[in-house]
Symmetry: C2
Subunit: 301 residues, 2 copies
Amino acid sequence: MKIDAPLFESLVDDYQQRVDAALERWLPPPDVNPICLHQAMRYAVLAPGKRVRPILVYATASALGIDLKRVDGAASAVEIIHAYSLIHDDLPAMDDDDLRRGRPTCHRKFDEATAILAGDALQALAFYIISHDPQMTPDAEARLQMVEKLSLFSGSRGMAGGQAIDLAAVGKTLNIAELETMHIHKTGALIRTCVQLAALSTNKLSQQRHQALDSYAKLIGLSFQVQDDILDVTSDTVTLGKTQGADSARNKPTFPSIIGLHASREKAQELHQNALQALSIFGEEADILRYISAWFVERSN
Amino acid sequence: MKIDAPLFESLVDDYQQRVDAALERWLPPPDVNPICLHQAMRYAVLAPGKRVRPILVYATASALGIDLKRVDGAASAVEIIHAYSLIHDDLPAMDDDDLRRGRPTCHRKFDEATAILAGDALQALAFYIISHDPQMTPDAEARLQMVEKLSLFSGSRGMAGGQAIDLAAVGKTLNIAELETMHIHKTGALIRTCVQLAALSTNKLSQQRHQALDSYAKLIGLSFQVQDDILDVTSDTVTLGKTQGADSARNKPTFPSIIGLHASREKAQELHQNALQALSIFGEEADILRYISAWFVERSN
């Protein structure tokens, strides 16, 4: 399939709708008053969002010729892990944010206890989906490897570890290597997981191609975060759907605060070019992944 | 193996030491200042505790003739899920407890953000162990079923759901059926998981025996909680290692508060007798499970 910019946009729309339908199927129905755990889970997950991670799962599957229904579960699981991490990161004891995806954060809409539990239950739901979805690959070994990747990359040596580094870094001076280490964990690990879960859905992938995809994923995981830091400075709260300037207000180290805005933009472009280079062993079937890399560094929200 | 009371006590000691050694292997090493995520995880998990859930995993494996090293991973995973739930339940937004296992709660020892993240990372670690441990059963289908059980029974329809019911019930009048529903989720589901994970470690178990074990697990899961409620009234803080009378002080419905102390004791005994009945298709190989049922309703901490 030859891809151009309009087709890419239409595919992104398709993937967003596809994962929203899958998420709706996996989320528990609203519960009965006064308990609102299920409502809080639904509120956080179904909030309007870019669905970057599911889109990456679908795009990788598409590049590898995998039937998309084989990866609906993986796409849902990564979005659910992302949603749980946002709920917990927004809590008063963490980033203390009031706004997320253009709406009150989960603990503002419900309460802190419900938000904590909703995050906990969402993490469990992600693993339930990977282990339970009958449409995913029937290869149990591969499914078990997906559980392993998802748990490793979201745990203390991945996303949760990155958030701990982030909290400890508030008010500190980091050098660029330390900042990258933080982001490789906090954001990069889960983005890497997206590509790996899709790759594990086929047994026809050579080791060389698997590694090329992983290199690509690591590079765009970092470029995504560089662009996030740039947008925190240059965009506005309505466009972002979260509080603009929140990182600098909180005295958090960011790429612009350490190397400046201009060098940050160069950094993002360099990562994008390296990501394209990593995909060089693929033909035009991987064009969708090339478009995603460009999207990550050109997006305005 | 013929079991009597002294041998049972010695086995319980062995199992406690065995799981502590396994937990030590699985937990990440302490991290570098100022980050204390790994320390917080270690502090919460390695705190002195009864290790009820791992003991139940080992005892079930023993009753089924399964090599204990096949279930070290499952035993570690259930204890880690339990530890994460205690960290989060103790948070100021939830039960706001200062004392756990005779020591300051995780958020008192460290801080709230670290406690939230430590709980999150521990949940991920539990799934990592089940998917990764090379000593567990090589049957990938069975391992995937373990992930499914553990995620289902710890999520919004299990443990996390039970905690949400619990929080919504504070200051409310529940009837005995509602109280049981809460506990079947909050405590019972994870205890049931212990028996199921051990049972999934062998492919030689008949459907009838599997169901008998599940019935047993449901009964002792409830009797354990009835006894917990009794001890909250009759024991003291030093013996419990957590604040005595905390439930009644918080106006939480408990078995003694609804049906009285005497009827609660009768209820615990009745559940114990029913648990023995559920095991009637097993011979003396299941004596260790019979002793566990007795221990659950006779324990003083």
